[in-house]
Each structure stands twice: as structure tokens, then as C-alpha cells.
């Protein structure tokens, strides 16, 4: 064993009832490296992290950490911390009502009192030292999410931290904030901290990591140096099959179907969006694209009536209609899969079955309950059809992986047999395999005559599925691309604007 190794996990096994979450997984972390932990949803990343932080006890295997003789057993996050293992989670786990300094030191100082002066001084030094743009006396809630994230990291590293685990730290940050976070990660790296970086974003892995460990179905695929593993190879290792599946999807531009528009809007505006025109034909797949904050989500929310509609005329199937709230839209055969799955999509504590049945029940009205037997039949049908991985239809949806949750929401809408389905970032934060499945499903539904509006941050995804792209910039539609124009280069140019 080399002595620059800070953490070794050997032969880790973890079983859950009916599932083998981790099977004989090895993991080695070096001092002063950033080590990406990659895998599809359900690959065992979170389980491995939870074993390491003492949230779950492991069933077999041993963990060794630098500076401690022999194997250690970690029974709680607190105990993990005493071994120098700190975790910063995706959701901010700080208190927004307290100051930055307090959030860094509360719960881990000696004595009964609080010495504000000393605490703020120490916090200020640490913040400056790490280059974090926050002030000690600032209320944490007034900081941006990225800064809050960095404060959490500062707190973690101020303890004698050997291993820092960052669990999806970038998922709610924009590019500039991500860069800031990377700066901090590199700084910590240079101080010899070993960082475990869990993320879904491939580019970020390559931007900042030194090593990659790939897990698949609870088993170790391998540990690689970043320079030895090109991006394509990484994806292959993660999904365990060649990329044929991805390229198998039509890459050629699809023709825009002729015929009457199923849905058309003129000067539609909502409290969040500027007036815009929009139409979609039966069987058409189109998409809104643009940078984050360009107004693409706001536009589809206006179509669905998710934000208060302030003006415009809407025609569905040739008839003038009024859509001011989601229920109106649903009654006219429109479905909407929201961008923020956790907040607007799933109802975490309800079962998969109940989540699937929700939209249909709402359309039918509460006075016409769907019989239990029927809901069970529906649930079984769609769990099978969409290949949803769940222990049973009665499992609470929150215990499913992100990709499977997304499929449940998709099932919810498909069950209502919508004629027009809006999918806002259906592939965000889910594994590559499920992404492909969803894209294929979109094309299949369109062939069956459903109109679909698709939004994705990944332009290739949109190019593969959409026959028409509506490009937005600064809350305005700045272009519509069809046919030959549907190339990555062209889309980028339109998004960026200008002549060249």
C-alpha cells in the first residue's frame, strides 16, 4: 500500500431486502486528488457513500483510513467525521436563518457559550483563505445557492478533514457558480484533501477530476485515470453497452408533419413570460431551446397554465379555448412533465401506483373515484410498459432512483392519453440508459400521432428528437429552425445571436 493513499475500501457488500446494492466493491482514494464516482442511477454510488459515512452499516468488507491502525467501523455520520470524513450533500443542509459564521461552527464547538467575536474572526479567516465570497455576519439565506454550498464545504474542511465527499454539488448551480466551486475544490486538493466527487455531468468530471471509479449494478467496473478514459469509453463503461443504441436514434432531421395545428397560441403571455406565438401539429415533436433563464420553461408553463396567464388567444383542435390553469389544459388533452421533478412532479410519500393515477383521477374529478382494482391494473401496465424499476407498485416513489421517478411521472401523463404532451427537461439528472429510453418513447408516441414539445439542456438530444426547434434568448423567441438548419452549429449560432 502506498502511503499517499488516504482511504481504502475493500470488498464492500451491502444487501437490502431483495436487492444486492453493493457487491464486493473496492475503492481507493489518494491524498490531494479529486476522484469522480460515476454510475447510472441505481449503480450503487449513493449506497457506497452512505456506507462510508455511516448512514448504512455494511454487510461485508473493510474500510481503512490513513492514520488509523487497522480496519475501522463507522456507525454514524458523526463518527465518520471523527475519522476525518465529511460530506456535503446536494441539498443544502445548513440553516438559512443563521449567519454564515454560525453555520460554519454551530454544533461543533466546546463549552456552553457562544463567543461571537472569535467565531466570526475564525470564519472570516477561513472564508478569505478559501476565497469564498461570503461575509461571516451575513444571513446565510441571503447568499446564492453556490455560496451556501461553499459555506457547507468550508464547514466540512475546517474539521480535520481527510476525505471530503461532494454528493451532486453542482446540480442546482449555473456555469459560473460551478466554476467557483471547482476553484474551491482545486484549492482543497492542493492542500492534500482527498475529494470524492459524485455527479451526473460528464464534462464536469473531465474538467476537474484526476481519477474515475465506475460502478454498475452495484459492482465495480473499474478505477481509471481520467487521461486514460475518453468520454465515450466512460459512457460505455457506465451503461455497459456500446453506443450503438444512442446513435441508433434517428439523427437525420425529421420532416415537420403537415396538417392543422393541434394547438396554437397567439400573443400568449403569463406572469413569468413575454407574449409569444406558438403552434404544434399532430404528431409533431418540437422543442424550445436556449440558455438557462432564456424563458423556455416559462413559455411551456404558460401553455399549460402553470403560471397565471395574462393574455393571448389559444386554439385547441380548431376551437377557441381558455386555458388559465393546469386543469383547463388537462381537460383539453394537454399534459406537462415539469422541470423540477422533486418540487412539481412527484408526491414523495405516495406510492408509485398513487403517483401514476393522480392526473387521471384529477381529470375525472374527485366524485368519480377509480376503483382500486383498476388503479392496480393501470399501475402494473405502465410499470411494465415503461420498464420502471420498483420493488412493488406500493413502494413510496421517493425510494426510487431519479430516472425511475421520471418514468412514473411520464406514466402519469400517458395514462390520461394526452394529445399534446409537454416534457420539460425529462432527461435531466437521470442516467444515460433511461435518457435513451425516454427519447425513443418520445419518437414512438409522435408516430402514433401525439404532439410533443420537448425541452432539454442537451442540444444533441433535441436534434435527435425534434423536427422543429424554437430558439429563445432573453425571454424572446429569436428563431425557428427546421430541416437542414437543424445542426448543432446552427442552433448554437442562433442561441448566441449575431451575424457570424
Amino acid at each position: 500500500m502506498q502511503n499517499d493513499i488516504v482511504l481504502t475500501m475493500r470488498g464492500i457488500c451491502k444487501y437490502f431486502p431483495g436487492v444486492r446494492a453493493l457487491n464486493n466493491v473496492d475503492f481507493t482514494l489518494r491524498k490531494g486528488t479529486i476522484h469522480a464516482l460515476m454510475g447510472e442511477n441505481g449503480a450503487g454510488k449513493s449506497t457506497l457513500i452512505k456506507v462510508l459515512t455511516g448512514v448504512y452499516p455494511m454487510d461485508e468488507g473493510e474500510i481503512r483510513i490513513d492514520g488509523v491502525e487497522g480496519a475501522i467501523s463507522i456507525r454514524s455520520p458523526q463518527e465518520a467525521q471523527t475519522y476525518g470524513i465529511s460530506t456535503v450533500y446536494q441539498e443544502i443542509t445548513l440553516c438559512p436563518n443563521l449567519t454564515v459564521a454560525e453555520n460554519m461552527f454551530i454544533g461543533r464547538t466546546a463549552g456552553k457559550g457562544v463567543d461571537w467575536k472569535a467565531m466570526e474572526k475564525k470564519a472570516g479567516e477561513l472564508l478569505d483563505n478559501l476565497g469564498i465570497p461570503a461575509r461571516p455576519r451575513q444571513q446565510l439565506g441571503s447568499c446564492s445557492l453556490a455560496v451556501q454550498q461553499m459555506v457547507a464545504i468550508a464547514r466540512a474542511v475546517d474539521t480535520d478533514c481527510k476525505v471530503l465527499i461532494l454528493d451532486e454539488p453542482t446540480s442546482s448551480l449555473d456555469d459560473k457558480e460551478v466554476e467557483m466551486l471547482f476553484g474551491l475544490m482545486r484549492e482543497l486538493k492542493s492542500r492534500g484533501v482527498g475529494i470524492i466527487f459524485v455527479t451526473h455531468f460528464l464534462e464536469q468530471v473531465y474538467a476537474v477530476s484526476d481519477q474515475i471509479t465506475v460502478l454498475r449494478n452495484g459492482e465495480l467496473v473499474g478505477q481509471f485515470d481520467v487521461k486514460d478514459l475518453p468520454q465515450v469509453k466512460l459512457v460505455e463503461k457506465m451503461i455497459g453497452k456500446d453506443l450503438e443504441d444512442l446513435s441508433g436514434i434517428k439523427n437525420t432531421a425529421r420532416a415537420v408533419p403537415d396538417g392543422e395545428a393541434f394547438y396554437a397560441a397567439e400573443d400568449l403571455s403569463s406572469s413569468e413570460s413575454r407574449p409569444f406565438d406558438f403552434h404544434i401539429a399532430r404528431g409533431e415533436v418540437n422543442g424550445f431551446t436556449g440558455l438557462l433563464g432564456s424563458g423556455r420553461s416559462e413559455s411551456v408553463r404558460a401553455i399549460f397554465g402553470a403560471d397565471p396567464v395574462t393574455g393571448g388567444t389559444v386554439t385547441v383542435d380548431g376551437k377557441h379555448v381558455k386555458i388559465t390553469k393546469p386543469l383547463d389544459a388537462m381537460k383539453h388533452g394537454i399534459g406537462y412533465l415539469p422541470e423540477d421533478r422533486k418540487r412539481d412532479g412527484i408526491i414523495a410519500d405516495l406510492s408509485v401506483r398513487e403517483n401514476i393515477i393522480l392526473a387521471l383521477q384529477v381529470i375525472k374529478g374527485m366524485n368519480h373515484p377509480i376503483s382500486r382494482a383498476k388503479t392496480e391494473a393501470f399501475a402494473d401496465e405502465y410499470i411494465k410498459a415503461l420498464n420502471i424499476k420498483t420493488a412493488s407498485p406500493e413502494t413510496p416513489i421517493k425510494s426510487l432512483s431519479g430516472g425511475n421517478q421520471q418514468k412514473v411521472i411520464l406514466a402519469r401523463w400517458l395514462l390520461t392519453h394526452p394529445q399534446y404532451l409537454i416534457l420539460d427537461e425529462p432527461t435531466r439528472g437521470i442516467d444515460v440508459g433511461t435518457k435513451t429510453e425516454i427519447q425513443k418513447l418520445v419518437l414512438k408516441l409522435a408516430e402514433e400521432g401525439m404532439s410533443i414539445t420537448f425541452i432539454s439542456s442537451e442540444i444533441e438530444e433535441m436534434l435527435r428528437t425534434c423536427s422543429r426547434l424554437i430558439v429563445m434568448r432573453d425571454r424572446k423567441i429569436v428563431g425557428e429552425l427546421t430541416g437542414e438548419e437543424l445542426t448543432q452549429e446552427h442552433v448554437m449560432k442562433t442561441i448566441a445571436g449575431g451575424e457570424q
Binding site: 445548513l94 454560525e102 454551530i106 457562544v114 472570516g124 476565497g131 465570497p133 441571503s142 446564492s144 457558480e177
Partner: protein, 371 residues
């Protein structure tokens, strides 16, 4: 980031926190109300004694309002404090009348301990049920309220007047400050009078303010009220924090009972009826959020003083009737809750806007701030 920038950063004044903002609003309203009363009603409001009267008459309210503030910051509620005062007053009155202990000091000391003991017992049991058994605080303390009221009536259906001479002497003991007094029409100098209870109430406010700001328990209460899950992740013992907040709350309720008895030495089944509601109103007017995590007892003190001033103004005005007072209290509470939500949502909206701005690559600014 350059050293210069950092220095500038350090020197910047921090914008007000939500809690400070709400507290300043309530202090401002109290001052405005009091000044208005001085100019329109004149009379008593021009004498310093008026302030002391407000304190003397509302000492128990101030104490239970602090008690409520502590649990509300922790994200809980305690509606049994009025009942606990009633029970404490009745028990102490019966004890004082029945005691055969010769030393008056001992008997009064025992009465004091009895009051604290009753409050402590309620606090311990309620705290245990809320924190360790995770039962809704509203239900737990509602049960506590019924229990306390029931026990009070069992102890005596009829009012019990304290006849213990030493205690009655204590009731009459007042701190006299002559330079704050005034000259009566017959030429006698009447000094300002402060009751012991009022002094205790002010001490409680100071003590609780220090506890909340400078003790670990105090900060943990804020953290737990702000986000229980996060508090847990930050290594705070959430259960024990909640438990101790109820113990403090109960103790203060018992103390308030003793203070109440020193102001009006008689037990009665309806003593401090709805006192918990006034206490909640005081806390909220003082800037404590029912959702937890925000508030402080200085604000609460002024919240209680606002309610007390309304009462006094109406008593001295031609509108003197209890329903006017209720309506004024209601209007004031409604006004404050609307004001709080407007202020807080305006602030958080400012934040949201700011965050959007940051998403645009060009915008370069520090992560703060809002007016």
C-alpha cells in the same frame, strides 16, 4: 479575490436580518403609539409612572410571552402557559393560606419553589412528549392547558384570597424612585413605583435575550427552528434542544404565576384566561415567526408593551369597553402578520431576482443584497 476587496467586504455594514427588521418595526410602532397617546390623551401618558404601570400590570404577560418566544423560535408552540399560571396562582394561594410554617421567609421561599416546580413539571412532561415522542406540540400543550385548568378548579371552585401577611407585605413592596415621580395637586411628591414583579419581568427579558444570543442552547433553538433536518446534519441534538426549550417555557410559566400572585394576591379558576393567546400575539407582534427560527425576546417585550398600551389607551379613551380592546388587539395582530409576510416576501423576492441576475454570465456582483 484581492486583499483590498476583502477589506472592503469586512467593513461593509451587514444588512438587517429578517428578525432585526421585524423587531425594529415593532419598536417603532410602540414608540409611535406611545407618542401619539402622549399628545392626544395627555394626562397619565405624560408621566413616567405610566410606563411603570404598564410594566407592573403586565409583568406576568411579559414573562409568558418570553416563554412562548423561546418555544416558537424552536418551531413549537405552548398554549398551556395561561393554564399553568392559573394553576400556580391557585396552588400558591392555597399553600400560603394553609401553611403553618412560622418563618415567613421560608413559607414565601417555598411558595416560590412551588410555583417554579409546577411550571417545571409541565415543561418536563410537555417537552418529553413533544421532543422524544414527537407528538404535535399544539396537541400536547392543549392537553396541558385542559389539565391545568381542570386541576385549578379541583383545588377550589371559589376564589381564594391570600391572607398570609408576610406575602401581602411583599405584594405592597415597591421600588420607589422619587426623581421620576410627580407632584400631586395637594403638593405632595408622589414617587414612581415599580413592583417586584415588573423587575423580575425585565430581568427575565434580559436573561432570555442573553440565553438566546450567547448560549449554545439558544443558538441551537434557532437552528432547530430554522430547519430541523439541517440542524440534525450540523450535529445538533435536536431532541434535547426541543426538550429544553419546553422546560424553559414551563419554568417561565410557573414564574409568571408567582409574579401574577404578587400583583393580584388571589387565586381564581379564570386567572390568566387566554393568557397564552396574548402571549402568542405579543411574540408575533414582536417579530417572532410561527414557522420558527426567527424572533427575539426584546421584540417580544415590545410586542407585549404594544398590547398593554392599546389596553391603556382604550381604557382612558371614551371607547372604554372590552370589545373595543379585543378588536384593537385583533386589528394590530392582523396588521403585523400581514406586514411580516409583506416584508419577508419582498425581501425573498429581492433575493430571487438577484439569483436570476447572477445566472446571466455578465452580471457580476456579490451574492448580496437586498434593500
Amino acid at each position: 479575490m484581492s486583499d483590498n476587496k476583502q477589506r472592503v467586504r469586512r467593513l461593509q455594514r451587514e444588512p438587517l436580518t429578517d428578525a432585526q427588521m421585524l423587531m425594529i418595526i415593532s419598536i417603532g410602532i410602540f414608540a409611535a403609539m406611545y407618542l401619539a397617546a402622549m399628545f392626544t390623551l395627555k394626562g397619565g401618558f405624560l408621566k413616567p409612572q405610566m410606563i411603570f404601570d404598564l410594566l407592573n400590570d403586565n409583568a406576568a404577560l411579559i414573562i409568558i410571552a418570553c416563554s412562548l418566544t423561546v418555544v416558537m423560535i424552536g418551531g413549537g408552540i405552548n398554549i398551556s402557559v395561561g393554564g399553568v399560571i392559573g394553576l400556580t396562582v391557585m396552588s400558591c394561594a392555597l399553600f400560603l393560606n394553609g401553611t403553618t410554617i412560622e418563618s415567613s421567609f421560608t413559607s414565601i421561599a417555598l411558595t416560590f419553589l412551588l410555583a417554579l416546580g409546577i411550571g417545571l413539571a409541565f415543561g418536563l412532561v410537555e417537552g418529553f412528549l413533544v421532543s422524544y415522542l414527537e407528538i404535535q406540540p399544539f396537541i400536547v400543550t392543549l392537553a396541558g392547558m385542559f389539565l391545568a385548568r381542570g386541576l385549578t378548579t379541583i383545588l377550589s371552585v371559589n376564589p381564594v384570597k391570600v391572607t398570609h401577611e408576610a406575602f401581602l407585605a411583599l405584594v405592597k413592596t415597591k421600588l420607589k424612585i422619587s426623581w421620576l415621580g410627580y407632584t400631586a395637586q395637594n403638593g405632595n411628591l408622589i414617587p414612581a413605583k415599580i413592583e417586584i414583579g415588573a423587575i423580575i419581568a425585565v430581568l427575565v427579558v434580559i436573561l432570555m435575550a442573553l440565553m438566546l444570543r450567547y448560549s449554545k442552547l439558544g443558538r441551537h433553538i434557532y437552528a432547530v427552528g430554522g430547519n430541523q433536518q439541517s440542524a440534525l446534519m450540523l450535529g445538533i441534538n435536536v431532541k434535547s434542544t426541543i426538550f429544553w426549550s419546553y422546560v424553559i417555557s414551563g419554568l417561565l410559566a410557573g414564574l409568571a404565576g408567582f409574579v401574577f400572585l404578587m400583583h393580584k394576591p388571589a387565586g381564581n379558576a379564570s386567572v390568566a384566561m387566554r393568557g397564552e393567546m396574548d402571549a402568542i400575539a405579543s411574540s408575533i407582534i414582536g417579530g417572532t415567526l410561527l414557522t420558527g427560527g426567527v424572533g427575539n425576546v426584546i421584540g417580544t417585550f415590545f410586542g407585549a408593551m404594544i398590547l398593554a398600551t392599546i389596553q391603556k389607551i382604550i381604557a382612558l379613551s371614551p371607547l372604554n369597553a372590552s370589545w373595543w380592546q379585543e378588536m384593537a388587539n385583533g386589528a394590530m395582530l392582523g396588521f403585523f402578520i400581514i406586514l411580516q409576510s409583506v416584508v419577508l416576501s419582498a425581501r425573498s423576492k429581492g433575493r430571487i431576482k438577484l439569483r436570476n441576475k447572477q445566472r446571466k454570465p455578465a452580471a457580476e456582483e456579490s451574492p448580496t443584497q437586498v434593500k
